[in-house]
Symmetry: C2
């Protein structure tokens, strides 16, 4: 049984708390937040502490707060030589204070408060300074997910940039599609199967092989008709830039 | 039993032929292509004709060729007053010759030759000049799909532009993510669950509600770090433009 303390009650922390609460390999000792107004969902049966000097000794401290606050929170942990990890996609492991054994426990997923996720399929990117700590993190990771990867801080940075492209930017393109549909009284749900198939395709084809559409075909007639159709300046700019990039990549 | 002739043997036509071949409501009389070198997959047991004057009389002629060739093919059909439809997302119904009863049968999906699709979930966008022809197209559509929609030519144009955003452009962002992973020796499969969840999310949340990431949080530190990380000029431009657009939309 591995004992753990989670520091933070944000988006990622809440999802981790949910999955750790029902886990026979992890004993969640405490959750810490400095915010006195925060309460936990009833399903999370773990003591909530607001004073950091009330923290108990644990095998691992998981800091899941905004990137800018990670160091400040870590510095207040009233122990030394403990395994302290953060859950950020962008912050290097080295940022953590020297008096700890450092590590990273980064679940690569898009978490929204109102949408449950199946942790089993979420890749957990792990990093630690020594093999023994890595194995402990791997045991924690394997207890909630089928997919743990050893990812260095520099690889994690690249992965996070990739994730912005394939998740945040992709979702924004969904939003543009949604707006165009709304303006033309078309239910956005018509596009759901296409969105689904586009995501499915790249499991069996490379994105380059999977590409279709007017830019791929260099069909300038359709491209110009689309540009004429679009009235929003930003949508026009995005259409032009991505069309050019697809043509340049063929 | 509705009799049909398909004109064309491209990407969309091939998928339609596959699904019509095993359909108890549709009798596929012929497939036409002017290209004498084309042969059909063995699973498609329909007479292939290369001379357009060999076409038989049918309830509906489905023209599934490149947009620019639709009118030329339609004009050669050796009948009048027949129901003639095309399968294009971009071409207006009115483009078809006046001597026919015109219509559109547009399956909204991304078809790749090497990837089978489940037609049942593909929305079919239908348009016809009169109610009787619409009902016939609806019967054809319902025989292969669970989702038929009445979509006018102007709505179809908007829908096609939306589809370019949520499919072609999205797939190109997958490609950028893939490239960044490859350059950093990260298996692209790590991103598959994130891609899947991003697509799933917008079935229950609006894209605006589903948005996460540094642009949404206006986290300029991370944004600048990402821009510094990117070396490819086009990737940088796309990152800047989409980040600005997300920030402007919040």
């Amino acid at each position: 049984m591995i004992t753990a303390v989670v520091l933070g009650t944000g988006n990622v922390a809440t999802h981790l708390l949910e999955v750790f609460s029902n886990n026979e390999h992890i004993r969640l000792l405490q959750v810490y937040t400095r915010n006195p107004n925060v309460t936990l969902a009833p399903s999370i049966k773990v003591p909530l502490v607001h004073q950091i000097d009330e923290l108990l000794e644990a095998d691992v401290y998981i800091i899941s707060v905004t990137d800018n606050a990670i160091l400040a929170v870590a510095e207040q942990i009233p122990f030394s030589n403990k395994l302290v990890v953060h859950t950020s996609g962008t912050v290097a492991m080295e940022v953590l204070p020297e008096r700890f054994r450092k590590g990273v426990f980064y679940p690569l997923q898009t978490f929204s408060k109102n949408k449950a996720v199946n942790f089993k399929s979420i890749p957990i990117c792990l990093e630690a300074e020594n093999e023994k700590d890595f194995q402990l993190l791997e045991a924690v990771g394997n207890s909630i997910s089928d997919k743990c990867y050893a990812i260095s801080s520099s690889q994690r940075k690249a992965l996070h940039v990739s994730a912005v492209f394939v998740c945040n930017f992709v979702n924004h393109l969904y939003q543009m599609g949604n707006e165009i549909c709304q303006e033309n009284n078309i239910p956005f749900e018509i596009l759901h199967p296409l969105i689904q198939e586009t995501a499915d395709k790249i499991r069996t084809l490379s994105p380059l092989e999977a590409q279709t559409g007017p830019a791929k075909r260099q069909d300038t007639g359709t491209i110009n008709a689309h540009l004429q159709f679009l009235t929003d300046a930003t949508q026009k700019d995005i259409y032009k830039l991505l069309t050019k990039s697809i043509i340049d990549h063929v």
